[in-house]
């Protein structure tokens, strides 16, 4: 069996006596789709930021795409793409300049071809010379996907990617995800229980920084999961 794409070993994030994450461990096989659920302040975003190398855990080991983040964060960064509710695009540059910028920073050799290809994939070729400021929310989010996948990362992190998208944009977004899903591992933080559950192959529930439940989807159906979620999470938080 292949090495797990994401591996957490007793990961904690503490500041003072406030635990954002407390001894979270899990293993995620390559090619799977993990959805992280939990109420506000459960540590979902913290976990995602740790996986994205934007935050460092206080203790514990994190491995992404077989690379320990502590050993070589830069090597791991080459394998990580992040799509968040922030587009991370410069509103005053045009679509192509934005992608070119990131292509150069990542050091993609066939930059122009790759940028063209990604613009095609997200159906924005016709708007390539327009500034991102003129884009609708849905178009911006599509371009953000292109940006995140530009360097062909193995692990794609999604931080509440649906926020602010209208239903049509959500559809396009879903089909795009479906198209790039092959051979990649996804980790998504979502507030939408049903949507997150539909997409995932594994589900993780966090509450107050601790792992409440972690299961593969085959083991549980949605209703049972929702019941479990409300039971476990409802207890500790309300």
């Amino acid at each position: 069996m292949e090495a797990p794409a994401v591996q957490l070993d007793q990961v904690s994030k503490v500041f003072g006596d406030r635990y954002a994450l407390k001894n979270v461990s899990l293993e995620l096989p390559a090619g799977s789709f993990l959805s992280i659920f939990g109420p506000n302040g459960a540590g979902k975003t913290t976990l995602l930021r740790i996986l994205a190398t934007l935050a460092r855990p206080t203790s514990g080991a994190v491995t992404v795409a077989g690379i320990n983040l502590k050993d070589d964060a830069d090597a791991a960064r080459e394998q990580i793409g992040l799509i968040s509710h922030n587009s991370m695009l410069y509103a005053d540059l045009n679509a192509e300049q934005n992608l070119q910028l990131y292509a150069r920073l990542y050091g993609i050799e066939n930059a122009q071809e790759r940028v063209d290809e990604m613009l095609d994939a997200v159906e924005l070729s016709h708007r390539r010379l327009d500034t991102v400021r003129t884009f609708s929310r849905g178009m911006t989010q599509r371009l953000a996907i292109a940006r995140a996948l530009l360097h062909d990362p193995q692990v794609v992190l999604l931080d509440e990617p649906y926020s602010g998208l209208d239903p049509h944009a959500v559809e396009i977004f879903d089909s795009l995800l479906e198209a790039v899903r092959e051979n990649r591992t996804f980790v998504m933080v979502s507030h939408d229980l049903r949507k997150g559950f539909e997409a995932c192959s594994h589900a993780l529930v966090l509450a107050r920084g601790t792992k409440v439940a972690f299961a593969a989807k085959e083991e549980i159906d949605y209703d049972a999961f929702a019941a479990l979620y409300h039971e476990t999470v409802g207890m500790g938080v309300a």
Binding site: V14, F15, G16, D17, R18, R56, T58, G236
Partner: protein, 254 residues
């Protein structure tokens, strides 16, 4: 609070036990210095200690200056303020290395005490400039660099209140306090670097001070050091206990 944190930042123990006597002895020493300054230390004629002074466009060399007594408090308070800010810089570096929130807490407490001493220095120093030099303020290197330091210590607290997220606040405060600290040695050594400055150089072997002047000065210096230490330990203890209470509350909530 984890076990390791309690070990690294103990409450009680020798350091805290010493805090109370330190504060007491410090208070006694400064009181003694106050008495000595007015009784034992010989009155200074003019500004003879530091040569001749130009006051209000007049050369004054023979007037008995009572205001010279300010010196016995001004200089020790200034030295202690720099020592305390050195503590801030030390804890800031420790924080950036370990990301331990309690180091940031200690850095903050040091800066708080630093602020008290810095303000005392500014007030006593300004009285000095008024009565000894005859002006309220001069843009002279020592005064200017110390004014900058004062402003930056105040800015440190403004920065802290402007950031909500605790870890980010701690990081920013540490980074800023390290930049701020650059000014401390500059301010300390500037009277040596630019000798034309009117501010006297005190810390030198041939300071020209008689033993009767040295006695109150030393009493005051050690007194203020002890007071600063006592204040620091008391503040740290209060804050650490408050944190522990918070942690206990959280545990009870679960």
């Amino acid at each position: 609070m984890t076990e390791t944190q309690t070990d690294k930042h103990p409450i009680g123990g020798l350091a805290d036990t010493l805090a109370k006597p330190a504060l007491l002895i410090g208070a006694l020493l400064t009181a003694l210095a106050f008495v000595l300054a007015f009784t034992v230390a010989s009155p200074v004629v003019g500004a003879k200690v530091n040569g001749v002074e130009l006051i209000g466009n007049e050369m004054i060399g023979n007037q008995i200056l009572l205001s010279q007594k300010i010196f016995y408090f001004h200089m020790p308070v200034a030295v202690v303020s720099m020592v305390v800010l050195t503590g801030t810089a030390f804890f800031a570096i420790r924080f950036l290395m370990t990301r331990d929130a309690l180091y940031d807490l200690k850095a903050k407490i040091c800066t708080e005490i630093g602020l008290v001493f810095v303000i005392c220095t500014m007030i006593s120093g300004d009285l000095w400039t008024r009565f000894e030099w005859g002006v309220w303020w001069v843009w002279e290197p020592r005064l200017t660099t110390y004014l900058i330091l004062t402003l930056m210590v105040i800015a440190y607290f403004i920065l802290r209140t402007a950031v909500d997220e605790p870890e980010r606040r701690a990081t920013y405060a540490s980074v800023f306090s390290l930049i701020m600290y650059v000014d401390v040695p500059i301010s300390f050594f500037i009277t040596r670097l630019i000798p034309s400055s009117v501010h006297p150089v005190i810390m030198r072997s041939d300071s020209g001070m008689s033993p009767d002047m040295l006695a109150p000065l030393m009493c005051s210096l050690f007194g203020f050091c002890l007071i600063a230490y006592g204040l620091y330990r008391f503040r740290a203890r209060t804050e650490l206990i408050a944190l522990r209470v918070e942690a206990a509350k959280d545990t009870l909530d679960d």
